[in-house]
Chain length 243, copies 6
């Protein structure tokens, strides 16, 4: 590889950043973890409540939902606090809807009974890939919360049907690269977030051309990297839940 | 094909709904059209303003942005008016961000000079695929608005670099099908929105498993249908702009 | 009449603009129409719901209410979207309260039973007189919705006690003129909105001196024109409902 | 008159409530008064600021605007505080727009220069007719504020072109009656607010049928009463400003 | 005392402003008063409602809460109306929480039964010490409201356990002074609000160094003045309730 | 001490919880620390910006302000996210105003030049005393941010005039106790927050009787404990800044 095509982080195209998942960090939450992907750091908590939103009442099913936030100085330049602005940005809402959908895709909601789990994903430090880290960490928090319910005999089995994790990939000078950091994300030609299951299925793809449209060939290259990257994330999740 | 696998609309898996694009319907707008995809009907207007948002001031570039709305009774059941609720839903914001990104992907913003075009996409009747129809129609409105600027000698050439259109595809009982209507969208195993360019490039893919994860093979099947579907949309756009 | 006193539109002082009411345009609504008064174009839908607001619960009466909106580019210059601003303007609220009151004035709410009809009046193109067009069109949508309920055997008779329609009049260089368009409305000395019934009664008068106060004599001149103008509107309503 | 047609207050049909206007009650305001119409009590202040809203900048004209509020316990039953609810009701906005229009109708805005006067009308006790009392009192506060500016040599003459006052009338069992209190307003068949000038001109009429439509004949009866009632209000204003 | 240490108002360090409490001024309220502390003037009303907030339902206890507002022109310079801004400031919320806590400290909430009293404190004229005047006046309004309930046989005894009143003190050139007006408050080195009971107890102290930190010795000097000042306020309250 | 008077935490009346201040935890902030007081854990960041709010422009002075937030699951029961609710509670605003005032009391704002430092205090885990921990930690973050500016030669000396720290005290069964945790705070008869300087001065006292009023004698007991507690906090601050 010549200097010219070296990606900004200097990592190999298929190199994931160091992943660290520290479970049980939030004293009050039923399940929690702090996940780091390189410098990106997200606190994920799972809160269990014995009731469901109105549209599910009386159906015997549970609900899994998510909220996402970023501390004002998680970023290089301080961002305005959404609570002070009086509303969540479109980006925030888009991300928290994605996290919720991703987790529901691997949850047997009938097995939950009428219970809601809210996943709060708060970014302490942002360096790219926060929504992906949030999904990967939220799965750990959710798993631990379900285990907590089993220990309390509220649930007889864990309603999770499998693992789910997410990673971003992008095109750097025409080459697919794995797990973009902030500098790479800003400079990539295209970036894509993949939410994949432990069983190899696709839960969600969000691929966006930043500068110019990309090809199906590139799309397949990004997906191949994502599969490789999530394999490492699934292992980190397993380790975090002590499996 | 047996009755069992027949999709709800009865259309062939690769059949697009009837597309109708009526240009110039909004008397005051610099560019406009009404687009129908089957029963779905969206009014798209392009409004030109001779200034740019703060973050672009003095850079000699233009901006293209979008807003999306749905009339309260565009749907089967009346939806609450967002202006009365006092905020736009996460879904609305997600869609209008997508429309804006999609159009910017085929616009040479330097060629615009310091000018903003706002695309308003208002759904008059909803029957699935409203965001895709909005993108396809917004391109026509934008093209006409740029032509209007050329006629007024505000622009010397059309800053559009090519066409962009969008279509949704989904998995129905394991079979990829093109252009979901509302009933199909509600019942599909997975649905995906593809934003593609006239030159065959991918601008955006948003693919979501509704029930269970899907495979790469399925993904490729959906993409193939999308290419076929957008080919017809590009032709309809050409006809609408009188090219 | 000399050139000097010719009103901006060139119409005779007592000439109404061309009125067109197209019923049944909204596929999902129980009743609907598109009304045009010259270039002004308003989409009116009536949505029926089998319950009433809290203050009427258990009283065996129905409720008729209205919401009003304007598409951002219904006007010469794009207006900010109220949903994006996060609130409805005072003007919007004033108009929707007027529409609701006007329709309730000709409705036997006891005959409705506990049912709410919401009239959504959305301006597609604005060229003056939008609130009046909204009232005239809303009556058609409401009538059709009640007929729909009768066909469904939810109602045994139509709760409408008669027709209601509205028209604006104004003083142009001291002369009362009928049905102001936007240019005329901006230049008039006074303008007044009249909501009248088919039986010749007054439901509402809102008369405002724009420049200088006007006299009782002028007021009577405006009212005489309004009676003449609404006579034509009542005929158009009759035709639209197929009576 | 038989007992049967006696209006709820027992007053003669053409009897105004006792009017009291106490000028100069607000220590900090450039002009102010407390106006009582029977039990209704409104505090009106005029605040002068040496600049105009954006749409008037550089035009050498002034602006007069109004805000209206009601103390939570001005009414029989405590009303929710609008500041706590986070928005002004449609009724509040409608009223404050009316007050502003009414005062501007008798103000020579060119004579003001680039200056804004904001009239705050806050209802301390409500017993019907608060918007009319607010207009009548606001004129006094505005007059005093302009005199204050003349004393300070900011203005060389008073920009008020004449007096303006308002009164409500209504139909009680078919008989026009003057100056409705709360109980009468609730029971009237129709009620109308008239804003009239000292010179006998009409500034604004807002007439509404509460129960059933009314006739032109009734309208004229209400207007005649309003002229009689405002004559007394003009005298009370003159006395309050020490003319 | 030399000229140099004379406080801005010219009052002796331990001199309270003239206190006037006029009970029963709000016609509709169950209890009310207008309190003046020098130029500061606050209208306090107590509104009784036969239910409690959700968190108290079924507990057999009552609730006392407060809201605070300032008329836009209560101040030297007109302040923006909070209802128009769409939110209450942090200062407003802080003050109304303080008023509520202070009154609850002397109320036997069990003796109230399930009843809520809302104290509305609206500042008509502000010249320093508005929150203290509000507390002192609110106690009178509350007392009168409870007496009203006893007269109506809704309560068998008055749930007030004693009196509560508040006064501000401050450091002026190192000397503790009582009851700051606006000019003094702006110039003081420190100011403190004391909420004390008739029995000599402390309900709340809020002491803030404006310029530089102050000492324990100063703190005790301020508290001594506050005791002296509230003694006069307790007498004024007694007189107002006709005790 | 008998069992009966033992405080809930079992600590001696004058025992502070373990204090840990970890500086420099936020990668992007100019100054930061994580402070723990027992289980309470607050992340404090200081963000420097080279401009001041409007009211200070052109005065050559700086500004120090604060924002406070709590992660939804910092508490036993999940609290609703303020960004999702669309507004900050009165409690939040009260606390952030207190933090800002406290830091400004020890800052020479003229020495800052036209610069703003925003202190963000976000509670990761709450167990009582979060506002006090926030103040104590914010001082460390502010100190580090000023040192950062000195290293960058933006400031020639540190504008901090001394240390400031805060601690809560309360009355437990009549006995003053230091540094309440959540369980103690809920059960205390009175609680008080003291903001004191390293030089022994009082910056702010907020003392509130929860159940019944307390005496001056108790007040002095609480203040004595606060002086003792802050002495330990000042030492911890010194250690954190490496002094």
């Amino acid at each position: 590889m010549t200097d010219d095509t070296l990606r900004p982080s200097g990592r190999a195209p298929d190199a994931l950043r160091t992943v660290l998942i520290e479970p049980g960090v939030a004293r009050h939450a039923e399940g929690s973890c702090r996940i780091r992907m390189g410098l990106t750091e997200v606190l994920c908590t799972a809160s269990v409540e014995g009731r469901v939103p109105g549209f599910l009442r009386g159906k015997g099913e549970g609900w899994v939902t998510a909220e996402y936030g970023m501390l004002p100085r998680a970023t290089h330049k301080r961002g305005e606090r959404e609570a002070a602005k009086g509303k969540q940005s479109g980006r925030t809402q888009e991300i928290q809807r994605l996290i919720g959908r991703s987790l529901r895709a691997v949850t047997d909601r009938k097995a939950m009974g009428e219970m809601t789990v809210t996943l709060d994903c708060d970014v302490l430090t942002a360096d790219g890939g926060t929504r992906c880290a949030a999904i990967t960490g939220a799965w750990v928090a959710l798993h631990l919360a379900f285990e907590h319910c089993m220990a309390k005999r509220v649930l007889s089995r864990n309603p999770l049907l499998g693992q789910v994790a997410a990673v971003s990939c992008g095109l750097w000078r025409g080459v697919p690269v794995l797990d973009l950091d902030y500098a790479e994300d800003s400079a990539a030609q295209a970036d894509a977030n993949f939410v994949l299951t432990g069983a190899g299925g696709i839960v969600e793809i969000q691929a966006t051309a930043e500068a110019e449209p990309f090809s199906e060939h590139h799309m397949l290259g990004l997906l191949a990297l994502a599969k490789q990257g999530t394999a490492a994330l699934f292992a980190a999740q397993q380790e975090a839940i002590g499996a």
